[in-house]
Amino acid sequence: MDDKEKIDDINKLIDSELINFTRELDNVKSLSELESIKTKYTGKKSFLTVTLRNIGSLPGQLRPIIGNKSNAARKKIEADILKKEQILKGVEYEKKLREENIDLSLPGRGIKAGKKNIISSVIEEIEEIFIGMGFEIAEGPEVETDYYNFEALNTPADHPARSLHDTFFVSDRVLLRTHTSPVQIRYMEKNKPPIFIIVPGKVYRRDYDVTHTPMFTQIEGLVVDKGINFGNLKWTIETFAYEIFGKKRKVRFRPHYFPFTEPSAEVDVSCNICGGKGCRSCSGSGWLEILGAGMVDPNLYKFVGYDPEEVSGFAFGMGIERICMLKYGIDDLRLFFENDLRFIDQF
């Protein structure tokens, strides 16, 4: 055999080794299969390793040729194996991740949210509406003097309107406030116009039946400044009513009587159940009363040292429980103070 033949023989063997390798590599599906192929083609007993190990027995002039060819083949095999290994590793990693299977529908580890009382929520909602219109929040004592609760609000001892307020007394002159209106006087005593306040708070009346609780919640509003008029009152109340009940509701002002406002009004919104046609909820009128309002009676300014010719203003007051009932369709006033969590946690 001459050298050329010998080289051709070995080259053929190397080429077929490569073809075999490529075919077998294509069929490899796992890293363990790859490992055995790696051993077969690059291990101690592999054709290429043996060829290279025995290269010394070849004639000197053939050595570099065979050596280069073998090394190139081996490098290609190693590179292909590495490539394949990376692919297989990715697949296997993915497979391993896929085995980390959890039931996404199982409930999460509990963080229970408590609920704000519906009265607090609605108060805060109303506060935000009025803050947006430039109001501040004022507060005052729940135990009041006769002076602030009645007298300074144009309701002297013998006034017929007093019979509407059945009052809890602490002494002759001290009582539980029957409305949030005393804060009007207290605030005006301490501040000068412009006054734009609302006053949320508890009030008390000596009345306890299906439609009355001895304590309930009111929000009072007071605006006093130069040039405040009945049109401003209408705008403010309408803006509030649309915000809280929705733009689709109609709002109407009916004349009424309160001792400390003049002219006075009761304000209704159209019934959402019948759309104003009249139903049981609105006792057939199509309207639901939401609040009382009016222009501040000029007499009040005399109690706090304002000049009634100089300034004018309006006031309004509403029962929060009533607003809640209308807004959420609650039909029993007593629910508000029974503190049944089946009620509280609904809101």
């Binding site: 199982l106 409930p107 580890r109 509990g110 229970k112 949210a113 408590g114 609920k115 704000k116 009382n117 009265i119 607090s120 506060e127 803050i131 947006g132 430039g134 109001f135 501040e136 929040i137 004592p141 135990v143 009041e144 003097t145 017929p160 007093r162 019979s163 809890f168 007394f169 602490v170 001290v174 539980l176 508890k202 306890y208 001895p214 400044d225 405040i228 008029n229 009945f230 049109g231 401003n232 209408k234 705008w235 309408e238 109407r252 002002f253 009916r254 004349p255 009424h256 009587y257 003049e262 002219p263 006792s283 057939g284 222009m295 103070f337 503190n339 049944d340 969590l341 089946r342 509280i344």
Partner: protein, 807 residues
């Protein structure tokens, strides 16, 4: 108050129901301040009920108790089976024809025991006119056969239920309402006029003595002799009925009728039962007794005004008449009273004796004294029309005249200032004229004179402006935005924090409750609040609804415990709730303030499972540290570089050992503990309950303002873990304080991470493991520095607490 449309129409000229419907009237009244609560068409209840005449009847062939009647219904003769016995041939009866609804049942033609019945003859009860079910209703011959019953009986009417505001006593009668409608519609108002002046006090056979004209400005009376005692006409009975007044006798019905019509309460005495020809209006004697018409016995005092004869009180003025002199079936002669009493005085008496009547309701709103005479004239007129009594005799009138005309000047500028709309002078004048307010336009002013019946309520210019707005129509005023220049709406700092805390507490899983501010003396005793200085000094309500509303709360605890019990009753056992409310405490006399102390408090109560058993969690009962954790949660949010300390305390409502006061930076701000097991048991609760109460005012007002940024250091920290064994009694706080004391400024944080009790250490001892975090902000710490500090800490802990390092 109820009024009927037909009644109102008597005082309106040419009212045409076709141009202005009852619904329009209701709407106009509502939109002018007299709210119509309800409209009821009474006529519709009596459809197909007509006047019939029994032309013949025979016994029912197969039922002894029934009769077969032939009834003329105007168009034909109907056969009707009837069970009543009280009729005879020729009687006029009320006949319900098929289609009529009687007692909620629709009448149909049917067979009764084999005999055809084409309708039903009705009793008063069946017609809803009275409780009389004895026999069918027999009418007199004036009722025309075949006509609609409701029309002839005055039932074809519309009833308005009104809410008259307390400033409008003039509207407490049909005439007043008619006057309003006239002002609103322009329909002419007319009332019968009586010329009574020339019959005033023309003899002195009867004397009226008034002790105090302030209490009784006017007393008008008339004697009617030999009254014909006939039944009240059906139309009048029905009209009273529609206004919710029961018919009693002609005279009593007439007094009620005239009151409903004019607004002037009337009272009739049996003149022969009075002991004198003299009436005295005087204050009652202390302890004087009177039996009233409602059969109640009243003991009077000096503040109560009575009507008396020479012997005794015969009525409580303005409220109710006496039993002894009331109209009875034998009454022949009556004394009619139409008086005017002082409103506030009537109101006080009515409150004091707990009795309100149609009369007192009107008097307390200050009715027009000019009304008395008119009411007497009207009574006489109606009586005469019914019985032919005649228009005659003296009217006794004791009246201390006062001015009842008032001049008010209205400035048109002021109208614009208040109402925001420039209303034309002539429009204003027309409104006034409609309201019978005399007026004269002068340049920029209108001079007015208000009528007597509006004297009390129209006093000032502003009152006239209200009248303009009311009649002009509130809906005709534009909405005008208020300007916002120079002001900004906002919460105060305090308000903001309170609202944040409320939200934070909800975020920890608590729900918010709101309780009444009251509790009972029993509760005070049960919780031993009277023995705690902090929780005594309850404010007492002198007129509570019942004993549960006797005192104002000094703590929210009892209410919250009650909430727990009630929710457990509803099978909700794992509860975390809070309340933010005021508590009230009487002030000491030196405070010189008649109002009590009001403090905002947060009460938090926890009970039941804090962690529910779940697929991935073990259940756990609430303990003290859950509650303390909530405290720390809100504390951390607002207090940095501060000291929170729970100090052992001895509140009687708490467990003797799980019983603490909350101090922040040394200031006492609340209490925290486990509710005493006996109290919990007494409330029928079978689980531990933990309670905390925080003084919200103190908590918020002591938050330090002005936080400042500290640069973040990049030098590494050294963490050292330290486990020591100490006696069981040694408190964590004391150990931590000692560690901090020795730790120098390099010790930044101490965290307890384990407590161990068990076989590896001695009995009655515990191992406490702390993680200490050291850092120097300006350089890298050396290990040796920290080792020295830790050594010092251990030495000191050893000396102070006999602590040994755990190997």
């Amino acid at each position: 108050m109820k009024v009927t449309l037909n009644w109102i129409k008597e005082f309106l000229d040419n009212y045409n129901q076709n141009t202005i419907s009852p619904g329009d009237i209701a709407n106009m009244l509502t939109m002018s301040g007299t709210e119509v609560k309800k409209i009821e068409n009474t006529g519709s209840k009596y459809e197909n009920i007509i006047i019939g005449k029994i032309v013949d009847f025979t016994k029912h062939p197969s039922a002894d108790k029934l009769s077969l009647c032939k009834v003329d219904t105007g168009t034909r003769i109907a056969s009707i089976v009837c069970g009543a016995k009280n009729f005879k041939k020729g009687d006029i009866v009320v006949t319900a024809l098929p289609g009529a609804v009687v007692n909620g049942m629709t009448i149909k033609e049917n067979k009764i025991r084999g005999q055809i019945s084409e309708g039903m003859m009705c009793s008063e009860m069946e017609l809803g006119l009275s409780s009389d079910s004895e026999g069918i209703m027999i009418l007199d011959n004036s009722f025309r056969v075949g006509e609609s019953f409701s029309k002839l009986a005055g039932l074809d009417d519309v009833v308005f239920e009104l809410e008259v505001t307390p400033n409008r006593p003039d509207c407490l009668g049909v005439i007043g309402i008619a006057r309003e409608i006239s002002a609103l519609t322009g329909i002419e108002f007319k009332i019968p006029e009586y010329d009574l002046d020339k019959r005033l006090n023309i003899d002195s056979n009867f004397i009226i003595e008034i002790e105090d004209y302030n209490l009784c400005p006017r007393y008008t009376a008339k004697i009617f002799e030999n009254i014909t005692n006939i039944q009240t006409p059906l139309w009048m009975r029905n009209r009273l009925l529609m206004c919710d007044i029961r018919s009693i006798s002609l005279i009593v019905d007439l007094t009620n009728y005239i009151m409903l019509e004019t607004g002037q309460p009337l009272h009739a005495f049996d003149k022969d039962l009075l002991h004198s020809n003299k009436i005295v209006v005087r204050r009652a004697k202390e302890g004087e007794k009177i039996k009233l018409i409602d059969d109640s016995m009243r003991i009077l005092d000096n503040d109560i005004l009575v009507i008396a004869d020479e012997k005794k009180a015969v009525a409580i003025a303005g409220i109710m008449g006496g039993k002894d002199t009331e109209i009875n079936p034998d009454t022949k002669n009556i004394l009619l009273e139409a008086a005017n009493f002082n409103g506030p005085s009537i109101m006080r008496t009515s409150k004091k004796i707990g009795l309100r009547s149609e009369a007192s309701n009107r008097f307390e709103k200050k009715i027009d004294p000019l009304l008395t005479l008119y009411a007497v004239g009207r009574f006489e007129d109606v009586l005469n029309k019914i019985t032919g009594y005649g228009i005659k005799g003296c009217i006794y009138d004791n009246y201390k005249k006062t001015e009842r005309k008032r001049n008010i000047v209205l400035r048109t500028d002021r109208v614009v200032q208040i109402l925001g709309k420039d209303i034309d002078k002539n429009t204003i004048s027309r409104i006034f004229t409609g309201l019978k307010i005399e007026n004269r336009i002068r340049d920029k002013e209108i001079d007015t004179i208000v009528p007597s019946w509006r004297y009390e309520d129209l006093e000032r210019e502003i009152d006239l402006i209200e009248e303009i707005a009311r009649i002009y129509g509130y809906d005709k005023f534009d909405s005008i935005p208020t300007t916002v220049t120079g002001r900004r709406g906002k919460y105060t700092g305090y308000q903001k924090v309170v609202r944040e805390i409320r939200q934070s507490l909800c975020d920890t899983g608590l729900s918010e409750v709101i309780n009444y501010s009251f509790y009972s003396n029993d509760t005070i005793k049960k919780f031993k609040l009277d023995l705690e200085k902090e929780y005594s000094d309850n404010v007492e309500i002198i007129n509570p609804i019942n004993e549960n509303f006797r005192y104002l709360r000094t703590t929210l605890l009892p209410s919250l415990l009650k909430n727990v019990r009630e929710n457990i009753n509803h099978n909700i056992k794992d509860i975390g709730i809070f309340e933010i409310s005021k508590i009230f405490k009487k002030r000491s006399d030196e405070d010189n303030d008649i109002l009590p102390l009001e403090i905002n408090k947060i009460g938090i109560i926890l009970t039941g499972k804090r962690v529910q058993k779940s697929w991935n969690e073990e259940e756990r009962d609430t303990d003290f540290y859950d509650l303390k954790g909530i405290l720390e949660f809100i504390y951390d949010k607002y207090y940095s570089n501060s000291i929170l300390k729970i100090e052992e305390s001895d509140y009687k409502f708490f467990h003797p050992r799980i019983n603490g006061s909350i101090r922040i930076n040394g200031k006492k701000m609340g209490i925290i503990g486990k509710i005493h097991p006996l109290l919990v048991m007494e409330a029928e609760i079978n689980q531990d309950v933990y309670y905390m109460e925080l003084n919200l005012d103190d908590f918020v007002n002591n938050i330090r303002k002005g936080k400042k940024y500290k640069p973040i250091t990049s030098f590494p920290a050294i963490d050292i873990d330290l486990a020591i064994v100490v006696d069981e009694e040694i408190k964590n706080d004391d150990i931590v304080n000692e560690i901090k004391k020795c730790g120098s400024s390099l010790l930044k944080n101490v965290r307890l991470f384990d407590i161990y009790r068990g076989p590896q250490i001695e009995k009655n001892k515990k191992s406490m493991a702390y993680s200490l975090n050291f850092r120097e902000d300006s350089r890298t710490l050396k290990d040796i520095e920290v080792e020295i500090i830790v050594k010092r800490i251990l030495e000191n802990l050893g000396k102070k607490f006999n602590a040994k390092i755990r190997e």
